[in-house]
């Protein structure tokens, strides 16, 4: 598999995808492209339309308008083939309570027409000890791990994970990141929908922010940080007088505020470029810098900028 990762066809393309439930428009004219071989993070507040979009990608809901293509296939005409090449962990994954973890994997392997080493697959998600226990006794986190193991069956070209970290403990989250990286390295495309921004920052190379059913931003995390115009923080340790440096900084354009913190100056700049200008200005002045460090806006700030403030 993973052919899709090696050619130019995007893994996912939505063209004017609209989904209405009665009078409620969950997703409105969504145009989203997930490049093959990427790890794409889909962000958005509750009710933004993330899960509806993901459900439409795998044929769980039908588009009201627009087109959805996954791995070059139209979801209206080839939902089964799409699911054969896609590993899916749906939002609110519910296992069959009377089946064991091993039986779940056997069922997934049978449906996909592949053989699977259930011991190895369950060990990969940390469920080796629970392989022969019925899933009715699993905790929420264990169910999520089982769902992830099922999604990985058959080494799919595309991995669609909707809130995969829900219910996972810190070890589980670390494991999830490792698996995403491994799948990415294998050549699979990963689409990750999550509220955990740290998760997206850690593993995603492209981020789409969806709000009120519309894609409001789509780019790399780095580029999105630069475009939101949120503050950049400089932590400066001057070699000489703290007061002299503070006086100088206060007079510079683009500096929103300066505070002293334990022998350091914390400088809030309006934007990243202005932070660079501040450093350059300091280096040209009589203030000698012992050290400085720059803090870019976090994805959380980017998320807030694109959702709350719009």
């Amino acid at each position: 598999m993973t052919d899709a990762a090696h050619h130019d066809t995007p893994a996912i393309v939505t063209d004017g995808f609209t989904k209405r439930f009665g009078s409620l428009t969950a997703v409105k004219e969504l145009n989203m492209t997930v490049p093959a071989g990427s790890v794409y993070g889909l962000l958005g507040p509750n009710g933004a339309g993330k899960s509806t979009t993901i459900d439409a990608l795998v044929g769980l809901v039908h588009p009201t308008e627009g087109a959805v293509r996954v791995l070059g296939l139209d979801v209206r005409t080839s939902p089964v083939e799409i699911r054969r090449r896609t590993g899916i962990l749906p939002d609110g994954f519910t296992p069959y309570e009377r089946l064991t973890g091993r039986e779940h994997l056997d069922a997934a392997a049978c449906a996909n027409g592949v053989a699977v080493d259930t011991d190895e697959a369950l060990a990969r998600v940390g469920l080796a000890d629970a392989a022969d226990r019925t899933a009715g006794g699993y905790s929420h986190g264990m169910s999520q791990r089982l769902g992830l193991a099922m999604a990985l069956v058959g080494a799919p070209d595309l991995l669609v994970l909707d809130e995969p970290a829900a219910g996972l403990d810190p070890h589980g989250i670390k494991l999830l990141r490792r698996i995403i990286r491994e799948e990415h390295a294998r050549g699979a495309t990963v689409l990750l929908s999550t509220h955990q921004l740290a998760q997206v920052e850690a593993v995603c190379d492209t981020v789409g922010i969806i709000d009120d059913g519309q894609l409001v931003a789509e780019d790399s995390v780095e580029t999105l940080r630069r475009t939101v115009g949120t503050e950049t923080t400089l932590r400066i340790r001057p070699a000489g007088s703290l007061d002299r440096a503070r006086d100088l900084l206060r007079d510079l354009d683009g500096v929103a505020g300066v505070t002293a913190e334990g022998g350091m100056l914390v400088v809030r700049c309006d934007a990243e470029q202005e932070a660079a200008d501040v450093i350059a200005e300091l280096e040209r002045s009589d203030v000698t810098l012992e050290s400085y460090e720059k803090s870019l806006p976090g994805l959380e700030q980017v998320f807030e900028a694109y959702t709350d403030e719009r």
Binding site: L60, V80, A108
Partner: protein, 257 residues
């Protein structure tokens, strides 16, 4: 399933233990009659006659309990979304559910009726294997028809309780109105109980279908003969599940999960 199997078997055994020829003029809720034809009544005929009357009520109950949750239960629990993430078509999911529930219902009915045959043999010392075997096949077929209807209803609904209500209500209505002499024969054919009992009447020479006797005694319009034939009875038992399953599968394909 084991609990339902035991309960159904106990109900059948109880009916067989109490099976006696009806007293004169007693034919409630049935389209069947026993005819000695000059010979003593066969115990098998009495057992089949008694069971056929009771099963028209018992089989809808068993079927609905075992099949109403087919898809509706999975929708309610969220497992249907899990199932539909597999690379299988929605039509295949409905077909798979129908097949699985049919096997379960058919097995339960067959086991219960086999228990009835055993008790009948213990009580009367004899069972006509051909008649009883045919009766068992027809009863399993009737229960599969009801299973198809119930699975179709389950496919159209999103909660098991709703599926139970929407399938059990009409099926019990059929059980009562299907034997009501006030309902025209043609309509009764569509209510499934009459076709089942017409087919049961063919399993033993001492059981007759009352509508056929009446029809013979008082020649009606030609449609009566056709409507009361075994072929039309079989078609009626197949038509409802086939049509309803076709409609429900088509609707399920278009549904958002």
């Amino acid at each position: 399933m084991p609990a339902v199997t035991v309960l159904f078997a106990l109900a059948v055994v109880s009916v067989v233990r109490r099976a006696d020829p009806p007293s004169s003029g007693e034919q409630p809720l049935t389209l069947l009659a026993l005819v000695p034809n000059g010979d003593p009544l066969s115990p098998t005929a009495v057992v089949l006659f008694t069971l056929a009357r009771v099963l028209t009520l018992l089989l809808p109950l068993v079927t609905v309990v075992l099949a109403a949750g087919a898809l509706a239960g999975d929708v309610e629990s969220g497992r249907l979304r899990t199932l539909q993430t597999f690379p299988v078509s929605r039509r295949a999911v409905v077909g798979g559910k129908l097949l699985a529930r049919s096997v379960v219902v058919g097995s339960v009915v067959a086991l219960g009726l086999l228990a009835g045959a055993l008790v009948s043999w213990l009580r009367f010392g004899t069972v006509d294997p051909v008649s009883y075997g045919l009766f068992l096949l027809i009863s399993v077929g009737f229960s599969l028809s009801l299973t198809g209807i119930t699975v179709a209803v389950s496919t159209l609904t999103t909660a098991r309780s709703r599926a139970i209500a929407l399938s059990l209500g009409p099926l019990l209505g059929c059980a009562f109105f299907g034997v009501d002499p006030g309902v025209p024969t043609v309509l009764r054919t569509g209510l499934l109980v009459q076709p089942y009992q017409l087919l049961v009447a063919g399993t033993h020479s001492q059981i007759v279908a009352i509508p056929r006797v009446v029809s013979t005694g008082f020649p009606q319009a030609p449609i009566d003969g056709l409507v009361l034939s075994d072929g039309i009875s079989l078609c009626a038992l197949c038509a409802w599940p086939v049509v309803l399953l076709g409609l429900s599968a088509s609707r399920y394909r278009r549904r958002d999960l």
